[in-house]
């Protein structure tokens, strides 16, 4: 992630940021899971998340480690520990959330500039909610055969997702992301960094300008960047099927099962690729209509 970053950290400092972000956001996630929500028909009014925690940390520290730490904190505290881990669905949440937080962190150049912080917060929240809505729409679109042929379905999906998008952005976004972040960032700037032995972020970081962004730009940029971000995250892992073979070497006797499992794995990979392609198409289509509610 250090293409343009002036911000060099030792690996232990990265680890500190990661641990900090993970534990705090994880804890907050346990609370938000418990706060009851108000269900109004298909639309749910709820405290979606305490996004101010990762947002604040992304703005003060290296955004990548804070963002990934927070997303992982949600998976661990909010899902695994409460016994509601959702498998692949979490992967999608993990990627969209950490990506949105990362972008918000990158937008801020001067943590003491409230306008900048505010814009970054809302951009982050909107990116995240937009991605989630698109994924949800995509699910229906992929899941329903001949989606276009069912009358009224496209409109109703967009309506439901659009309203929940608006709710999340306006309710959770302002109350639990914008206001607390505006309160916390300037107060913590220069205060929390020394506790980790890190120099406060300089004003002179050459991050790309993102002041005025049109929704369309964000949308296309988001999708492209999301893929790129995913790929980059993958490159940080040691995704390696070789190791997993070694444990099985002695078990390879029963060919039939392995054949079926192998087939399943191949199918899974093809499917993943196909899905990604289809999703991109879906997003491009749905995006035009998806943009309506807040336009």
């Amino acid at each position: 992630m250090s293409r343009k970053s002036l911000y060099t950290l030792t690996s232990s400092q990265k680890m500190m940021i990661f641990v900090l972000s993970m534990s705090l956001y994880g804890l907050s996630n346990m609370f938000t899971e418990l706060i009851p929500s108000l269900q109004l028909g298909p639309i749910e009014l709820s405290v979606e998340y305490f996004a101010f925690i990762p947002l604040t940390l992304c703005m003060l520290f290296h955004p990548f480690y804070a963002a990934v730490g927070a997303a992982l904190g949600e998976v661990i505290f909010g899902e695994l520990m409460l016994g509601q881990f959702g498998g692949l669905g979490e992967l999608e949440k993990f990627l969209t959330f950490s990506f949105a937080m990362y972008v918000a962190g990158r937008i801020v150049r001067n943590p003491q500039n409230r306008t900048q912080v505010g814009i970054a917060v809302m951009t982050g929240v909107i990116i995240h909610q937009l991605c989630s809505s698109l994924v949800d729409i995509g699910k229906v679109w992929i899941g329903v055969e001949e989606f276009e042929a069912v009358p009224g379905l496209a409109e109703s999906v967009v309506l439901v997702e659009g309203v929940s998008f608006l709710n999340d952005v306006l309710f959770s976004g302002i109350l639990f992301a914008l206001l607390p972040t505006l309160y916390l960032v300037p107060r913590l700037y220069g205060k929390i960094e020394p506790l980790l032995g890190i120099k406060p972020r300089e004003k002179s970081t050459r991050y790309e300008a993102a002041g005025v962004v049109s929704p369309k730009l964000v949308l296309t940029g988001t999708l492209l960047a999301l893929v790129a971000f995913g790929a980059e995250s993958l490159s940080e892992t040691d995704w390696n099927f070789g190791e997993w073979d070694s444990g099985f070497a002695e078990q390879l006797g029963d060919g039939a099962i392995w054949l079926s499992i192998g087939a399943a794995a191949v199918v899974a990979i093809i499917v993943l690729l196909a899905m990604r392609a289809k999703k991109a198409r879906a997003a491009a289509q749905a995006g035009d209509t998806g943009g309506v509610p807040h336009a």
Binding site: M22, P42, G83, G89, E145, V160, F176, E243, A264, V267
Partner: protein, 269 residues
């Protein structure tokens, strides 16, 4: 009104902590959780992805039935399944109702039913695998499948640090209450009180962030002295961690049984 008041009276941080800790540390040992996590994860992957590409009602229904059986086998409380189904039907049902306003008709119902089935298969598969399995086992399985070691460390660290964080959070919240001012009137539907507590919840993270920052520094330094970063780069360490995973007859039976069942379904469908 009465309900809200009851809810407020019952709600104490002690209780929440107790409930959360019970959920987090009291994970049950279901029969399926004795299977090898690697096999289960592959199994899950198949049932999480495959339904999206199937449009045959028979295959989907068959898969769903199979998932219901495995979910019951994994001793998830029926309540969870009930809530899940209700949620899914509700969601898709609303879609159907709204689509009627946009010129839809009764023919929309069938595609939406299929969607419900797909969603159910995926959700039930994840419940089967992840609700019954001990999180340490999940993390071992993921580690074996190539997820970075930092993930499995973070998971067990989460289990370690949760009670500490909770204790600290409680104390900070208490500090705010001992020195703050509660609204004099609870307000309509207790909204004032609700807003007061929500505000405290947010404010409490300011001191908590500083305290946690202080803590993470020692933790990371101590990790260094205990060879953590050395272990991350050391393939022998990973192998050793996973050496207890064994692929046994019951895993083979389970996977081959599932494969046979799905094959039969496709053959009919």
């Amino acid at each position: 009104m009465e309900l809200v008041r009851n809810w407020f009276n019952k709600l104490s941080l002690d209780r929440i902590q107790l409930e959360l800790m019970n959920t987090a540390y009291g994970s049950g040992h279901a029969s399926l959780s004795r299977l090898d996590p690697r096999g289960l994860l592959i199994w899950y992957l198949f049932f999480a992805i495959m339904p999206w590409f199937v449009n045959s009602l028979l295959v989907l229904a068959g898969m769903c039935l199979f998932m219901v059986v495995t979910t019951i086998l994994s001793r998830v409380t029926p309540f969870i399944i009930f809530v899940l189904c209700l949620g899914l039907i509700g969601q898709v049902g609303w879609l159907f109702v709204i689509s009627l306003f946009f010129g839809g008709d009764i023919s929309s119902a069938l595609p939406l039913l299929k969607l419900t089935l797909k969603l159910s298969v995926v959700s039930l598969a994840s419940i089967t695998v992840f609700s019954g399995m001990d999180p340490e086992k999940i993390s071992d399985g993921l580690l074996a499948l190539g997820v970075p070691a930092a993930f499995s460390f973070s998971l067990s660290y989460g289990y370690r640090i949760l009670p500490v964080l909770f204790e600290e959070f409680r104390n900070v919240l208490l500090s705010y209450r001992l020195r703050g001012k509660a609204p004099e009137h609870p307000g309509l539907l207790y909204w004032r009180k609700g807003a007061y507590y929500l505000k405290l919840l947010v404010y409490a993270f300011f001191p908590l962030m500083l305290a946690t920052a202080k803590r993470s520094r020692t933790t990371v330094e101590a990790l260094e002295t205990r060879g953590f970063s050395y272990g991350l780069k050391n393939p022998a360490a990973k192998k050793l961690k996973l050496s207890h995973l064994r692929f046994q007859t019951r895993d083979v039976l389970f996977l081959s049984g599932s494969a046979a069942y799905v094959a039969v379904l496709f053959w009919f469908g």
